[in-house]
Amino acid sequence: MVTQLVAGEYHLSYERQGDDLILQMGPQHPSTHGVLRLELVTDGELIKRITPHIGYLHRCFEKHAEAMTYPQVIPYVDRMDYVAAMSMELGYVLTVEKLMGLTDLPERLQYIRVIMAEFQRIASHLLAVGTYGLDTGAVTPFLWCFRDREKILDLFEWASGARLLYNYLWIGGVMQDLPPGFAEKAMEFLDYFEPRVKELNDLLSFNQIFIERTANIGVLPPDVAISYGVGGPNLRGSGVRWDLRKEEPYCIYDRFDFDVPVGTGEFGTLGAAWDRYMVRVREMLESIKILRQALDQLPGGDPNEAMPRRVRPPEGDAFMRTESPRGEIGFYIVSDGSEKPLRCKGRSPCFTAISAIDAIGRGGLIADAVAIVGSLDIVLGEIDR
């Protein structure tokens, strides 16, 4: 085994196995977006097999959840996917509500939920898009995306008091009502942000070098994607028009008018990394559309009218999935009628996405491995839970 310092940044260790070379990428690698180890079996420049090793960030969410009361689980849920905490909360909260049969919720609450989830989608996609640029060697878009994401975090901080891990959406309510003037500020942000997406397109998306780099790598055929349970932008990048907000509308998504962008393969192969990237960029525009409608229609009233004082779901189990920025986040909660869940499983979209990495990356070049992993937009906190 030879260890060699490459590019002054990270270690690659080589092991010879017959004619194959095993290359360990990670666990500390700048492009794995967390701690993930990929074992690449390579033949020359080609990848023969990818074996991901996960679990470095395992924090026993499911075991913890069994010792917590239902509202206490919410801070833990935040930490599953720490860059899209609102969406995680929404998924969990809706599952508990489904289990409790809590359907009669105030209008204002429903709107707040949609607004928060969509802002979170934009923030999360900004991070995904920005870091993807970084993975492929473009630093400017990353900084610009973070600048805009910061503005969304400011809005969240204003509403909930926290910047990243909100604990804002509660079962049957929210922690506190939106501050007065939130809708105007949010609208102001949308007006500011919409032209920024175009800037991003000019800067990165339609840059020929970026397209050449990404438009033909990491092809994920739709049937493979479905078989692996990959959802969200990764599935839509393969050309499948499937969005839970449209197909199984939860909250009040059926009231809004928006499109579901899918991969088109306009610059290369359908389902390649560029398509997945572009779906995210276009989804931000759709989220802006939803947000404009929701902020316009935002009714008054008390969002916490129907908040149950004690959360005690009846015995039984429920599974519910929602569309998080990374795909279909599902929660499976089994209740034994007490205040604590008997079992709380988070079915994470990144977990399924990374399990498909072998099918996506096999046969590609080593140099493309980083670009392929980045295009899946994984968050290790959610994979390892």
């Binding site: 204003w158 909930s160 008091g161 840059n207 070098i209």
Partner: protein, 178 residues
């Protein structure tokens, strides 16, 4: 050949488009905040360090129970009736809070403890520069009762309890005698 030249032109052109954008951004004021010198104002209800107004704490332990990471530790001694006082909100304070520690190193700033508090004496303050060189410095002690007074209070509570018990047995005896 044509395609080849077109590709080159495309690459060149799209880079130029990006360059123009970045060039324009040169003249936009920077958004970076030079942190220790400049700081932005925080929204009124931002969730940073916890603070306990111990004079108002009635020792109900609601916050301790609500905390998901168990970072609040409360020790109580029952107060004798003449020691009972009123919190500023009008709630009766029936306990001496001898220990009210919050381990800020464990706290996840989730705000769950501040909601159930009946006197709203535990709340989050917008101060965030509380790094400490030792993690034991991050355990905040809010209780005001000095430790040397604790045995005295304990003794008092014990004696009171005994008296109460004695009274009760007497009463019971009286009831039985009747």
């Amino acid at each position: 050949m044509r395609q080849y030249l077109l590709n080159i032109w495309n690459a060149f052109w799209t880079v130029l488009v990006g360059m123009r954008l970045t060039w324009r951004h040169l003249f936009i004021p920077a958004v970076t905040v030079q942190y220790p010198d400049e700081r932005w104002t925080l929204p009124p209800n931002s969730r940073m360090q916890l603070f306990v107004n111990i004079d108002d704490c009635i020792g109900c332990r609601q916050c301790e129970r609500a905390c998901p990471v168990e970072c609040i530790t409360i020790d109580l001694i029952k107060a004798v009736p003449e020691d009972e006082r009123e919190a500023s909100t009008g709630h009766k304070v029936r306990f001496h809070v001898t220990k009210f520690d919050i381990d800020m190193a464990k706290c996840c700033y989730c705000n769950l403890c501040t909601i159930p508090c009946p006197t709203e004496c535990i709340y989050m303050t917008p101060s965030y520069e509380d790094a400490a060189p030792d993690r034991f410095d991050l355990i905040y002690h809010f209780a005001k009762i000095p430790p040397e007074k604790i045995p005295e209070l304990e003794e008092k509570a014990r004696r009171f309890e005994e008296e109460e018990a004695a009274k009760k047995t007497k009463k019971k005896a009286a009831v039985a005698a009747n």
